[in-house]
Amino acid sequence: MKMTDIDILSDRKRQINKAGTEGLAMECEKHSLAGAVSQRACVFCGSRVVLYPVTDALHLIHGPIGCAAYTWDIRGALSSGPQLHRMSFSTDLREMDVIHGGENKLYKSLIELIDKYNPKAAFVYSTCVVGVIGDDVASVCARVKREKGIPVIAVHSEGFKGSKKDGYKAACDALLNLVGTLPVDTIPRLSVNILGDFNIAGESWIIKNYYEKMGIRVVSTITGDARVKDIMQAHGASLNIVQCSGSMTWLAQQMESNYGIPYIRASYFGIEDTAKALYDVADFFDDPELTDRARKLVRCEVEKVIPQIKRYSEALRGKKAAVYVGGAFKAFSLIKSLRMLNMDTVVVGSQTGNKSDYEVLKAMCNKGTIIVDDANTLELARFILEKDVDLFIGGVKERPIAYKLGVGFCDHNHERKIALAGFEGMVNFSREVFNTVTSPVWKFVPRRQTKKEVYFD
């Protein structure tokens, strides 16, 4: 049977939809179906990925070794100073710990690690087993906090408790323990926090630089290249700018109700969205000079990058792309960016989108575009073949699906090492897409070899 004839699991049928079809409500925000081979991870993964770039904190994973081993230094989250976040610490629970409880081991681990690495705070992640054996992680954290005088925060991230999205919320709750704990007298009115950018390949620096050029002080970047002290002062900013809405909206909402800080959504992927983010911030402060500076900055940057992008976009005209990323908001930006490269998005999906996200996607995409929530390998492979795409945008797990079928690939998740945000990021993105889509290697792959079966089957 050919892939394109494969049936979708009946329990998942309503999680797949097409743009231009009326009346069908998209099903989403569900638990991954057992046996579906989802591309998603778990609650722990969600909280780990969000808190990961807090660079001067200790991140201790309480549980058997796997969860810590698989998250050791896999992110591209850069630091301008401390590198502690790149270490993998685990209580590495053993059978006896599971039987007798791991609280003592956790306590001893924390004390030793804090003494040795001198972190500014510690995050303790609870994994599945800890949730089951019922270690009182919060009380151990409270005790160590008293003894060591730094914030020691329990992150309730047992893998089974929900999906990756619930992990985001657990991470935000952990961060809320820090926000508001230092005085903020010296912070000016023109000030913001950048939420939901993780400084992958230095992207937070690119964004921060724009705001600073506009004359706006960035109080904290949560969590890209983050410092504990900055997060403690984050409540002094006038505005929160939320990029990754899936992970950080909860934190922004809490900060709004606790400290009266309003928030706006933004995206820095693509020229259009980056410019809009800068204008929106200028509009918020309602300061003509600021707006003027934003305009000048955008004009200057756009003039620099457009000629570079043009070369690529001409070569990419009419090529087709499939997008499967973690958050739906990123998918919106990618569709726009691909459009700028003269490419059509024919498949789009996310791991954590909600109903309104999928409505937006449906409205954005051309008729017939496949829209999918929480997909799996077989579905993605099927859609690649069905739509005969030239490019797949996803993460490391999706890469071999594309490559095996002879399709170009662009990594757009937390593990990438090339900055794709901001104006210069769009140049990098265009170059990467161009390099993969127009590579001569594809002429050798079976999918493009249908007429040359003379010597090889």
Binding site: K2, D7, L9, D11, H31, S32, A34, G35, A36, Q39, R40, C42, V43, F44, C45, L60, P64, I65, C67, A69, Y70, T71, W72, D73, R86, M87, S88, F89, S90, T91, D92, E95, D97, V98, K105, S109, E112, L113, T127, C128, V129, V132, I133, G159, F160, K161, G162, T377, L378, A381, I384, L385, V396, P400, I401, K404, L405, G406, P446, R447
Partner: protein, 452 residues
């Protein structure tokens, strides 16, 4: 040299682990069985993280299903989820074998897999063969998961019968290239074989016209059945306990001779493998291997001065470290530090058996992590580090070159093609090691001579 026999643990936590979890090992094995599909019984994250990790090494698809526990599942049990997972896997992948590996979570809540399977069998006919392997990570490393899965398959499938002219081979966690080479060697001895597992094609295949749900290749079920009738069983690994050993199991239950030997890296280890093949097959060593051996000796001679007296740190799975230590002692390098995340005494015992002189002089750390490696090298500096990609941070910090060997190799291309075993694999590794030494010397030289 100071000899430290007993390691006093100075820390409670693990800091940059030198091991992975048991379900990863079990999943690797199932990927080497024809038309098999693994299900990890537990949270979704375990399957996804392991997939991501293995894909980084092999750069091939690596589908693993999960029974995707929820909070309710954790409280009330995973039977429903497991049945659903099995049904959905059959619908999508239609495998001949389903391997269930129970994660820490499922093990802790005490899932009774046999009970769930019996319930499923009552509800549904025409099920594929289902095997279960218990892989709680709090009980061991990825190697324990690997050996347990192999043994589970052997126990499940091996049947008694008339002896056949086949040999059962258990190579352990080597590269697809090594697997291909091992099969070639057996073939050249005219020795039909059952290699368990066999991911030489499934984890290093070609480009596809249509998506292969389960990549073609792997040990066939008929071959698995045959392993009960084989004329001998070869197993690479001196650290494998009697309890874990598939070769010893076959020997005990089916009466065939078993040959437990080191991974054939280096001349002496390879010689042992070849002489075993001579014994089992009754054939002399084919000329091409005698030639390969001579070329390897020639390479040793060409490179011996570069290697002379250089000290090295080795880390990784205990049997890999042990085999590498043996190889190092052949080429005049001093093994200063050996580190593994394995259980206590596992590496030491294997080394005492195989390389007693090295075992007596080297610093051996078991149940160790990469901070231990860093500290050990800081105390007794080395010229070279050999192990997987995870030693990169230590290598960079101390400016000591790293030769990448083992699993995982995330930061270089070709991990699936790197070869270690036999005379040819050893030659390839030897060249890489000597070239790393030359490169370091060249780069740190003010003049930068070309050496010849």
């Amino acid at each position: 040299m100071t000899k430290i026999n007993k390691v006093i643990k100075t820390h409670t936590s693990t800091r940059n682990a030198c091991k992975l979890c048991a379900p990863l090992g079990a999943s690797m094995v199932l990927k080497g069985i024809e038309q098999a599909m693994p299900i990890l019984h537990g949270s979704q994250g375990c399957a996804t993280y392991i997939r991501r990790y293995v894909i980084g090494h092999f750069r091939e698809p690596f589908d693993i299903a999960s029974s995707s526990f929820t909070e309710e599942t954790t409280v009330f049990g995973g039977g429903e989820n497991l049945m659903r997972a099995i049904e959905n896997i059959i619908t999508q992948y239609n495998p001949e074998i389903i391997g269930i590996a129970t994660t820490c979570l499922a093990e802790t809540i005490g899932e009774d897999i046999q009970l769930h399977l019996a319930a499923l069998a009552g509800k549904k006919a025409d099920l594929p063969t289902i095997v279960h392997v218990s892989t709680p990570s709090y009980k061991g490393t990825h190697m324990d998961g690997f050996f347990a899965a192999v043994k589970t398959l052997v126990r499940k499938f091996a049947v008694k019968g008339t002896r056949i002219n086949k040999v059962a081979v258990f190579p352990g966690m080597l590269s697809p290239q090594d697997y291909r080479y091992i099969k070639q060697m057996l073939f050249d001895f005219q020795l039909p074989s059952v290699v368990i597992p066999d991911f030489s094609d499934t984890l290093d295949g070609g480009s596809w016209q249509d998506y292969q749900k389960i990549p073609p290749g792997g040990t066939a079920i008929d071959d698995l059945k045959d392993c009960g009738r084989c004329c001998g069983a070869i197993e690479f690994g001196l650290s494998i306990s009697e309890d874990q050993s598939s070769a010893e199991y076959l020997s005990k239950s089916y009466g065939m001779p078993s040959y437990k030997m080191p991974i054939p890296i280096g001349i002496e280890n390879s010689d042992e493998f070849f002489s075993t093949l001579c014994t089992i097959s009754g054939h002399p060593v084919p000329d091409k291997y005698s030639m390969a051996r001579m070329r390897l000796i020639d390479a040793y001679v060409d490179g011996h001065k570069y290697a002379a007296g250089k000290s090295v740190a080795l880390y990784g799975e205990e049997d890999l470290v042990c085999a590498l230590a043996s190889f190092m002692s052949e080429i005049g390098m001093t093994v200063s530090v050996c580190i593994s995340g394995c259980k206590p005494e596992s590496l030491r015992k294997a080394m005492e058996k195989r390389v007693p002189a090295v075992a007596a002089s080297a610093r051996i750390l078991e149940d160790a992590d990469f901070e231990d490696l860093l500290n050990a090298i800081e105390e007794s500096p080395v010229d070279l580090i050999i192990g997987n990609s995870k030693g990169y941070t230590v290598s960079r910090k101390l400016s000591v070159p790293l030769v990448r060997v083992g699993f995982p190799i995330h930061d270089r291309l070709g991990a699936q093609r790197f070869s270690l075993v036999g005379y040819e694999g050893t030659t390839e590794l030897f060249d890489r090691i000597i070239n790393a030494i030359i490169e370091k010397k060249q780069e740190s030289s003010d003049i930068g001579y070309l050496t010849w």
